[in-house]
């Protein structure tokens, strides 16, 4: 065995990992070969010295310090896991944020849709006060009411909405309503009326929105009077000075299925108790003189001397499709229909049948009676 072979096997020789015969041959060579012998002895000493290095004691409290750090890390990770998914989850923080944003967006969209629907059938009435005894002038009308573009009777019109329910009530200063020129008018209001149980006419499902005090007067106050229309129920304005009031539209747009422009029938003298009740209205026409109106009508119980002959208003009514014709008849009985839209011929085509109809009624004040020489 030569020196090169011995040197290559010295590692296994020191580990005693060789077979007996090889071990003997290497040992024999190391004895006879001084350099290989010195090499082998030097390596053996190194191994022995390294192995003889003493063990060092671990610092006191080493385990406790390590475990203290471990528990600190554990507390921090548990806080993160309360807010996010476990570390094994693959859901990242950005993905979680995107999901939350999406859910919030859907929720807000649904809320917005609900708000739109809730506003659809709110109703308001525009009131423009006027001095008692004076007919509203055109200028005062124009000044009192916000100008609006002429409305189209199409159900999809997008007129602005006026607001404010009737504030007339006992004890309040009168808020007379100024008439508004037909061609400039375009407010949308809604009104609710309860169905009347009067035997004279079948009840009409209408809805009118007004303040609670007024709406009550529409309902059941006068069995003989249809709790029908604005004329009947309203306005028991006190004969006092009227303050100017103006209401700014604040609600959303309304879309009326049909629109009427009507004029009140001239009522009785204002110093007599009376109302624009149905019976009195039916008996009176535009040609009636003031003397005729002095006859007290069969006023409904709720009626007080109406002072709304100068009051114009716009109201909305929700009417069932099957009651539309009757509504129109009653409107004609109560007032003078000056115009309506859409035209009758188109009405049946355009009016929906699967929901209540939104009817817009612009009520103009009664025209003062002309001198006896002028009739109608």
């Amino acid at each position: 065995m030569n020196c090169e072979e011995v040197k290559n096997q010295l590692l296994d020789y020191h580990d005693k990992a060789l077979d007996t015969s090889t071990m003997t041959r290497i040992a024999t060579h190391l004895i006879s070969c001084a350099p290989c012998g010195a090499e082998a002895n030097g390596l053996a000493d190194c191994i022995e010295q390294v192995a003889a290095l003493p063990n060092v004691d671990v610092p006191i409290g080493f385990t406790q310090r390590v475990m203290a750090h471990v528990r600190d890390m554990e507390d921090q990770s548990s806080i993160r896991q309360r807010w996010f998914l476990p570390w094994r989850s693959k859901l990242s923080l950005p993905a979680t944020g995107l999901v939350l944003v999406g859910v919030l967006g859907v929720f807000l969209y649904q809320k917005e849709e609900d708000l739109k629907l809730s506003r659809k059938y709110d109703s308001v009435t525009v009131t423009v006060p006027v001095e008692t005894g004076k007919a509203p002038s055109e200028s005062s009308l124009a000044a009192a009411l916000p100008s609006e573009s002429p409305s189209k009777p199409a159900p999809k019109s997008t007129d602005s909405i006026s607001q404010s329910l009737h504030s007339a009530a006992a004890g309040k200063s009168t808020s007379a309503k100024l008439s508004q020129p037909t061609q400039t008018k375009k407010r949308q209001t809604g009104a609710r009326l309860e169905e009347d149980s009067v035997a004279k006419r079948p009840p009409i499902q209408v809805q009118e929105a007004s303040n609670p005090t007024e709406s009550g007067r529409f309902i059941g106050d006068a069995p003989s009077f249809p709790a029908f229309l604005p004329f009947g129920g309203v306005r028991h304005a006190a004969p006092r000075s009227i303050t100017m009031e103006r209401f700014i539209p604040s609600l959303g747009e309304r879309v009326a299925d049909h629109e009427f422009i009507v004029r009140r029938r001239w009522p009785q003298r204002r110093d007599q108790e009376g109302s624009l009740g149905a019976s009195s209205v039916r008996r009176s026409t535009e040609a009636d003189s003031a003397a005729n109106l002095a006859t007290p009508p069969a006023a409904p119980a709720f009626s007080v001397a109406p002072k709304f002959e100068y009051i114009a208003e716009i109201r909305f009514y929700n009417v069932a499709p099957q009651h539309f014709e009757f509504f129109k008849q009653e409107l004609a009985a109560e007032s003078i229909i000056e115009s309506e839209s859409p035209s009758t011929s188109k009405e049946e085509e355009s009016l929906p049948t699967d929901r209540q109809l939104l009817i817009k009624v612009t009520i103009l004040p009664a025209a003062p009676p002309e001198p006896p020489t002028s009739s109608r």
């Binding site: 290989c36 390596l43 192995a51 003493p54 063990n55 060092v56």
Partner: protein
């Protein structure tokens, strides 16, 4: 003890399930081995304390990645040597910054005189200095094989090199160490 009957693999499994206290048992089992290995790699007691602690904490953080394909001790050795090698490269090993450690070997000769004790301490210092001067890879393989008596196969797994490479590297490291220690130890010794 009952805890000695439970293998490292079982404690690792418990730790991965969230039983933090299982890690304390693992520390107690391996702290002496790891600490001594790191100390001999760095030659400094304070440095060894810090690096050993970091090695265990690194093992805790990475315990989820331990698949059990190798022994826990093998995996722990690897982490400890990586930390020690990184720190060793940043230290000036030619200057020992700490006092030598007292001999705590229970097998040391209690009857040795003071001269012999001083000589032994001097020899240990020389050996430590020689180890400090080796390449980190050579020092690691010598300490694992000759100090810790780790089998060649496990050394290969720790260092992630083939067994043949371990043997050749070990032979080279021993040669280098012999050269550094030759002026102090071997003089006229007979071959074994």
């Amino acid at each position: 003890m009952a805890s000695e009957a439970i293998s490292d693999a079982e404690y690792v499994h418990r730790l991965q399930r969230g039983e933090t206290d299982a890690f304390e048992t693992l520390i107690l089992r391996h702290q002496k081995t790891i600490f001594n290995l790191v100390y001999r790699m760095l030659g400094d007691y304070d440095e060894a304390t810090e690096i050993s602690q970091e090695a265990f904490l690194s093992a805790y953080r990475a315990i989820g990645n331990f698949r059990g394909e190798a022994n826990f001790s093998t995996w722990l050795y690897r982490i400890a040597l990586n930390h020690a090698t990184t720190r060793r490269k940043n230290l000036n090993l030619r200057q020992q910054r700490n006092v030598p450690i007292e001999n705590t070997d229970p097998l040391s000769d209690p009857h040795a005189g003071p001269v012999e004790t001083v000589e032994k301490n001097e020899i240990r210092d020389r050996v430590q200095q020689a180890l400090n001067s080796l390449d980190p890879e050579d020092a690691a393989v010598i300490l694992l094989r000759d100090l810790q008596d780790v089998p060649y196969e496990e050394v290969a797994r720790v260092l992630e090199i083939p067994v043949g490479t371990v043997k050749s590297r070990l032979h080279r490291a021993r040669q280098a160490l012999k050269v550094k220690l030759a002026p102090y130890f071997y003089a006229g010794r007979k071959a074994v």
